[in-house]
Amino acid sequence: DVKVTQSSRYLVKRTGEKVFLECVQDMDHENMFWYRQDPGLGLRLIYFSYDVKMKEKGDIPEGYSVSREKKERFSLILESASTNQTSMYLCASSFQAWTGDQPQHFGDGTRLSIL
């Protein structure tokens, strides 16, 4: 079974702090993704990566950055946390198939609260 592990299930941080969310997958997937999920807004893509050291902006990258130094690990960084970044964050991974038929596999999410 594919395992996508997010380092924290719940996290509370303060405004202005630098926040790191970590994600690790064990299936040698090329693609990794970060989403945030908010009531009424659904899932929105923040950043994704096709390969080590590669990153691409998603729909809402402002206020976030990412790092992918190893294939299995994809980190989301909130440079200076703000209250509007309080949300559920979901990491996902998939094989790279340009036919588009590879599903993404999700972690259990990190519920982040910024006070």
């Binding site: 693609n31 979901l90 790279q96 340009w98 036919t99 993404q104 999700f106 259990d108 999410g109």
Partner: protein
């Protein structure tokens, strides 16, 4: 461009009765389609996927979905609902770059 519409934001059924969750999509080419389920405070779990093979797709936990190109639909069904099926369900279409387009979600409630 592609889009996904889940026709019901909430569906309520009694335990033991059939489940139907409706999904329509639009895509400029032959899409791959998925259904995911999300239980409270959990991530999304893949239920099933359609990738241009058989039009009737069987998934986990007794769910299945039928791809109907003429109707651009991919409805999710289950013959008999169980209490543990209560969750939010997402219909998803993907493009050649493996980017997902999510439907708005359907919250399934199962009454005892």
């Amino acid at each position: 461009a592609q889009s996904v519409t889940q026709l019901d934001s909430h569906v309520s059924v009694s335990e033991g009765t059939p489940v139907l969750l409706r999904c329509n999509y639009s895509s400029s080419y032959s899409p791959s389609l998925f259904w995911y389920v999300q239980h409270p405070n959990k991530g999304l779990q893949l239920l099933l996927k359609y990738t241009s093979a058989a039009t009737l797709v069987k998934g986990i936990n007794g769910f299945e979905a039928e791809f109907k190109k003429s109707e651009t639909s991919f409805h999710l069904t289950k013959p008999s609902a169980h209490m543990s099926d209560a969750a939010e369900y997402f219909c998803v279409v993907t493009n050649a770059g493996n980017m997902l387009t999510f439907g708005g979600g359907t919250r399934l409630m199962v009454k005892p």
